[in-house]
Symmetry: C2
Subunit: 407 residues, 2 copies
Amino acid sequence: MDGAVGHRFEIAKSCTRSGARAGLITTPRGSLPTPLFLPVGSQGTVKALTPDDLKAIGVKMVLANTYHLYLRPGIGVVESLGGLHRFMSWESPVLTDSGGYQVFSLAPLRRIDDEGVHFRSHIDGSEHFFTPENVIQFQERLGGEIAMPLDECPPYGGDQALIRDAMERTHRWAERSLRCHRRVDQDLYGIVQGGVFPELRRESAASLTSLGFSGYAIGGLSLGEPKKVTLAVAEETLSFLPKERPRYLMGVGSPEDLFECVARGVDIFDSALPTRTARNGALFTTLGRHNIHNACYKNMDEAVDTDCDCYTCRGFSVAYLHHLFKSKELLAYRLATIHNLSFIIRLMERIRQAIIDDSFVALRDSFLASYRTTDEETRLLQKQKWLDRSSKTPGEGNSTKNASVIT
Amino acid sequence: MDGAVGHRFEIAKSCTRSGARAGLITTPRGSLPTPLFLPVGSQGTVKALTPDDLKAIGVKMVLANTYHLYLRPGIGVVESLGGLHRFMSWESPVLTDSGGYQVFSLAPLRRIDDEGVHFRSHIDGSEHFFTPENVIQFQERLGGEIAMPLDECPPYGGDQALIRDAMERTHRWAERSLRCHRRVDQDLYGIVQGGVFPELRRESAASLTSLGFSGYAIGGLSLGEPKKVTLAVAEETLSFLPKERPRYLMGVGSPEDLFECVARGVDIFDSALPTRTARNGALFTTLGRHNIHNACYKNMDEAVDTDCDCYTCRGFSVAYLHHLFKSKELLAYRLATIHNLSFIIRLMERIRQAIIDDSFVALRDSFLASYRTTDEETRLLQKQKWLDRSSKTPGEGNSTKNASVIT
């Protein structure tokens, strides 16, 4: 099958020295150059930014979340206000995630059977029931350009039998999702599951491609497994996905991972990492991530990244950002988010151009040679901390501990 | 005395039916039409807004606070980064408050004598000493267009002898401030004290005008006294201030008070009220303040104020703002602040035009006829709550309880 009405995917150029490809996704709300990064706007807002900020940064598409919007403000509210684009005042394309991941990161509160998943709201404890069918309907009413089917997303570390069960249910749900999907102007992607088991991934890819989706997502990764495993499983899975459809790796977004996964043939990414780390004061530069709270930045009269042309780097010094973070000023989170997101969007633009110029491998090698990544142990600790926190408040979470809002 | 080098104040038009006047303050960084409202940017940022937001709203001058900037990041840091304007990336004029009010709202931690005031930092408990002289030097180094002398600002409710002592010390400090003030391109205003006692206010005005400042501020009001008292004391004080110099009423900023005080001859106002109430979800409309958390706004597909041309009202519905506030999304505070500040700035522009057209009294009467003010009891309760909170964290406060920052 091809994409929905008004949708198209073309590969403009394939890298001769890696699996990277530069493409173009056409949607009724505009074209999306790939490789493409989607910032996360779970609740109908990319945290701390306006739609104008996103446009200025160069964001082409945002991800919103069915679980969050269903619970608050409610699908009916968004629909009655003219759909998600009008609700959030964002005219460009939107991808809605199904909420499967969010429901399953609430494990203690859910009960799953073949029909669907019962769960309690993290907001008020009320009971709800998601099925493959109603989740598709919710997304049709939200009106995003790309929808995702409900999937079962077990945590990292489960044994193979458990992961197989979840995968097989995901396949049955995928088929039901496809069958009930009515909106002809909306793409529906399949989500490959199978944990870290290569044979399950292969089986899942085969099963989903036989159903024929508009694009294919790789779910169930970036859940606390070692980075090597993420890359190996992504690579294995990608080799079984059709080359002519978009491939979307869910939840991946560090600069080094973007390079590695583009090299393996991924077209679309989403991740809360750039925006979440920004709010924690970890700012991207070509040399690595820097913690703006560090006392060494108190007097630094320079932009965060002297090569960066974002609003933050054009107007403000590291010392000013340091001061805003130390003072817990709301402007801190916004300026930091603008910078980190600009850094990633700019990186994706450079990656795409390099693929077209057939210099992608050189760009990757030179970038990774100077970019100091967070070491594996620290990274996994941070990830676990975040997963623990988000199991209480799914998605991007709702900690109420850090800003100076009320006076 | 006249203003500093490059400074000038001219009255363009005086109202024939009230004490209102429309004027123009010239500074080396641009002209300021009066009556003028200054948003509060205590720590070198108007909470939640960028300098670009402020410009788009029409803000001409912001207030920053010596107490806050002295403690964090430190006067030396701001100076080494090129002064306050460059530090905060704000090219237009700045008024720096002396920090007197902030030191005295920390009452349990301060010790005062004629030399100056010893106090402890609300951030880390460290000991500090402000004198009239060093506070002037700090402000010269910060580099604002208008500086304020250190004053003693006792809380509302003290007996007359106590208020007299504080006032007389304020006069002695005012004289020392004037004597040590060196920066010829910076205006220095005097601050009238005297509590709610008319005879003290008269004495204070006489004493300060005999010293000859570039402008005159009325301090020690809006500290929890009934609104009638605020207005009566302001009126009494204004009648003793020279007509040809700017008059600045500190800490007043509700729409109804702006009208009443402009009518009595005030030229400059500052207040955290519009921005603070915005972050609490209380939004200004021509009918009064509305609490956006109210369930009745869940589905409202309209701008907050249909006559408002601010970014928030142009792009977003009441329902979306309601959703952002319920979800504690950072964007809530920014969009609300943009609206409330726009409302006040637009109001001041209309007031100024009405004075020029000699229709100010009609504008005031028609505005106040439809604008429902917060009733006195609720207002005083809210004020007390805020004063209690800010006695722990002075100025605009630093509560860390309300935003969704970290994930």
